[in-house]
Symmetry: C2
Subunit: 209 residues, 2 copies
């Protein structure tokens, strides 16, 4: 078992991954931590420290092979795998996420949307049907769903999470504006859009209070 890597490091990994993808697009095949630091905005020292949590991917006197490092990061992030996913709550946000191309392009496969609203049940979002939540348990088990995206109102979020976990979900991407509580073997990533917007609001007012 790897020694615990801090969340601060983990949250930088997708950024490395993305900038390396950009470099590959530009046909840059070799980069030093110093060059990377200039485009990504972290210190060269931090970049080397971060990467060395997972292995020595560089070479003294040379730097890093962009493609190799990109592939290593893909593996570390689990992007070489595929995840069957459902979206709970087929309102505007749920529909938007179902259609989100950056999401579709990677290994996250949206298999269905679920809602309690009879007006939404049955409609198609691109090639996906919105199903009744009644059918969720069976669907999760049969289709081997591992990730659920919660796009319900906040009142339903915890209750939904409990059910999803009971049915076998392993990871939750929570867009409801409240923190959900889960057993420690279940992974949750919270995306709280209000909180994000409030931070922007703070910044706009900072200094002029």
């Amino acid at each position: 078992m790897s020694k615990k890597v801090s969340m601060a490091v983990i949250r930088r990994l997708p950024k490395y991954h993305r900038y390396l993808a950009d470099l590959l697009d530009k046909e840059v095949y070799r980069i030093s931590s110093k060059e990377l630091s200039e485009i990504i905005g972290f210190t060269a020292s931090q970049i080397r420290q971060d990467l060395n949590n997972f292995g020595g991917f560089g070479q003294q006197g040379y730097g890093y092979n962009v493609e190799e490092l990109y592939n290593e990061l893909s593996k570390i992030l689990g992007l070489d795998k595929s995840y069957n996913t459902i979206i709970l709550g087929a309102g505007n946000l749920g529909q938007a996420l179902a259609n989100y191309s950056g999401f579709r392009r990677s290994g996250f496969k949206v298999k269905a949307l679920f809602d309690i609203n009879p007006r939404l049940v049955g409609i198609k979002i691109q090639d996906l049907e919105v199903m009744d939540v009644e059918k969720m348990e069976e669907f999760i088990k049969k289709e081997d769903i591992t990730i659920a995206v919660i796009c319900t109102p906040k009142e339903k979020a915890q209750e939904s999470a409990n059910k999803l976990i009971e049915y076998g979900i392993k990871g939750i991407w929570n867009f409801a504006p409240m923190d959900i509580t889960v057993p420690e073997n279940i992974k949750v990533e919270e995306v709280n859009l209000s909180e994000s917007l409030y931070v922007l609001s703070y910044m706009l007012n900072d200094g002029l209070m």
Copy 2:
């Protein structure tokens, strides 16, 4: 000018604000840092430290008045103000954000959506019209828009930001999956959904690599 408050503290402020709102809903009017720590999951010490960056809102032997603290946090976050807002990019995500109720309920007023796609220009999202980007400059100036939400493809994000800033925008909420560069008087809050999802993916794979 207030002494610099760290980003770590600022990102916790919306959480205090939200939990205090919940307490008010439950008609709890008084709370100690210890009690708050139990529901919010930060240490009591951290809560007191955080709040004391902005003033001594508590009272020895008593704790904090929930309503007063809530109002103070609203002011600190700038939520007592109103912000005219536009959304650039009227695709699924732009439309979802335009409809997002948590967003509408607070002081952020979406005045219009803009797009280059002639198929989208002219359609109505609830009571809002999607306008041609050609009209954006005039609109921003006339309607006194201070916040722009970027929901364009990543290829257009930097170029869009540059224009928005030229036209007088002060804050950008960026949903395009790339980091935009802005002058230091302009505030940006990045929401990178792919990065968030990748962190969830990492957590699901951690330990089993």
